[in-house]
């Protein structure tokens, strides 16, 4: 029979997939993969601050990630070549976070849990956070969908019909910050970006419209969770990475299917 912690792990992964599917699609379309990386690395700094100031880790991460997100969005909005700046910001905030944690007295935490996540340790209250946050993000994306999509296709086109592309970018940043903060415990800082990108990229081969791609990305995320957690349970592999491996296999399968379809069609 399924143990409680397995059920919670699956519920956590499934809940997260609902948000990472459509959000990941935007990350892929807008070529924002770097963004997921940068914010995820900053999350570790958030963990350190949360421990230092004795606030909830989710809240600490959310604040730092949001700050990082706004900074990156501001730089990108100004058209500054941000590649190097971003690399410096992302990795130094990760390193500063790790160093800061070592200074905090009396705290002995399992860092690998934050780097790679520990989905099998998800509590009921974690589940409430994850589902609450995911539903919030999905509602936000649903509300802004058309405007976001138009701004993604072309900022000028969006402006010509009265959509402010800068504001839409802000909504997206906000949604990303929430998801990164929530998924820290599930897949960890180093794998968050992959959970955003891989299911969406895998969904591309199965979709003719943006909406379909977002939907398929959700399904692939859920399926990867089931397979990953199952593998982890039976073969004693680390759960977070197993989920990502499952998604990556899904991506390869989608590539093969898409190529075969193109050859026939």
């Amino acid at each position: 029979m399924l143990d409680d912690f397995i059920l919670r792990a699956i519920l956590a992964g499934v809940g997260l997939s609902i948000a990472t599917g459509p959000l990941g699609a935007f990350v892929v379309w807008r070529r924002m993969a770097y963004f997921g990386d940068a914010t995820a690395h900053a999350a570790i700094l958030g963990v350190a601050l949360a421990l230092g100031f004795s606030i909830s880790i989710t809240l600490g991460t959310l604040i730092v990630v949001l700050g990082m997100g706004l900074l990156v969005a501001a730089l990108a909005g100004r058209g500054i070549a941000i590649d190097t700046t971003l690399g410096v910001l992302a990795h130094s905030s990760l390193a500063i976070g790790l160093v800061a944690i070592s200074f905090i007295e009396g705290v002995r935490i399992d860092l690998t849990a934050f780097l790679f996540g520990d989905i099998l340790a998800v509590t009921t209250s974690d589940l409430a956070y994850i589902w609450g946050g995911s539903v919030l993000v999905v509602l936000l994306l649903r509300w802004r969908w058309s405007a976001l999509l138009t701004a993604t296709v072309s900022e000028e086109l969006a402006a010509s019909v009265g959509i402010d592309p800068g504001r839409e970018r802000l909504y997206l940043t906000l949604a990303l910050a929430v998801v990164v903060a929530l998924s820290l415990k599930v897949v960890g800082a180093l794998l968050i970006a992959s959970m955003l990108i891989i299911p969406a990229a895998a969904a591309r081969g199965f979709a003719m419209t943006p909406e379909r791609m977002a939907g398929v990305a959700i399904l692939i995320g859920m399926l990867s969770t089931l397979i990953g957690v199952g593998t982890s349970f039976h073969l004693d592999t680390p759960a977070g990475p197993s989920i990502v491996v499952a998604a990556a296999i899904g991506f390869v399968i989608s590539l093969i299917i898409a190529r075969r379809r193109r050859r026939i069609g």
Binding site: T150, V153, E156, L157, A158, T209, M213
Partner: protein
């Protein structure tokens, strides 16, 4: 009544000024063409007019609720973004099939509904962009070098199409172009831009202006002759553009 008005518009990128103290206005039904060499700030100008680019100083005022039909220079749709023609036409507002059929018929790009945007030819793509711009019954069409990537004949056909559409809708047209001789003949007013407004006026005035000649050099001599030639035709036949464009094709 001006649809769009820019007052003392200046835009800096870093330390260099891209637009310097540009004053501009366009009224209902007017056709204004902006010409200028590469890097003259044409695109920045359009981005400012649309409100994407924030002005360093000066103001841009658009009439309240102005319906803009924008046709970009080139639209890069990422390969990872699946987008059928039908879905694209419904950006940002859902359109009825009847409406979409009407505009795609108007621009001569039918039977593409379920094609992916990325699989269209250059000409088809531009026509779909124009169709989308027409969906909102625009009061002004803003065209930013709309014929880039089209061959000579495609360019001529596309401008003829814009002319027809404009006559039907009676909308204003603001066009940025470097296809000087093709676009100038149909314009009420030409603005020659090179960071600042070098000269402006009717096509005759601008093409005779020393500033314009300095910018576009010797090449304009031929274009000018063609322009005058086509202009005469305008008076005779009341806008017979399909045939006007022909001589240009041969000239180039």
């Amino acid at each position: 009544m001006n649809l769009i008005e820019a007052k003392n518009l200046s835009v800096d990128h870093g330390r260099s000024a891209v637009l310097d103290n540009v004053n501009f206005a366009i009224s209902a039904g007017e056709i204004v063409t902006v010409v200028g060499p590469n890097g003259s700030g044409k695109s920045t100008f359009i981005r400012s007019i649309l409100g994407v680019q924030r002005a360093t100083s000066g103001t841009v005022i658009r009439q309240d609720g102005l319906r803009i039909g924008y046709v970009p220079q080139k639209l890069f749709i990422d390969d990872t973004l699946p987008m059928t023609v039908t879905r694209f036409l419904s950006l940002p507002r859902k359109q009825t099939q009847a409406n979409m059929d009407k505009v795609t018929r108007r621009v001569g790009a039918t039977a593409l509904d379920h094609r992916q945007m990325t699989s269209l030819s250059g000409g088809q793509f531009q026509r779909i962009l124009l169709a989308r711009a027409l969906l909102g019954a625009p009061q002004i069409l803003i065209l930013d070098e709309p014929t880039q990537g089209l061959d000579q004949q495609g360019v001529a056909l596309f401008y003829a199409l814009i002319e027809e559409v404009r006559r039907e809708l009676g909308c204003a047209v603001l066009m940025v172009s470097h296809d000087l001789h093709v676009v100038m003949s149909a314009s009420d007013r030409v603005i020659c831009l090179n960071g600042h407004i070098c000269c402006e006026g009717t096509p005759q005035v601008v093409s005779a202006a020393p500033e314009y000649r300095a910018l576009f050099g010797v090449g304009t001599g031929g274009a000018l002759a063609l322009y005058r030639h086509t202009h005469d035709h305008d008076h005779d036949h009341d806008h017979s553009h399909a045939h006007e464009h022909d001589p240009h094709g041969r000239a180039n």
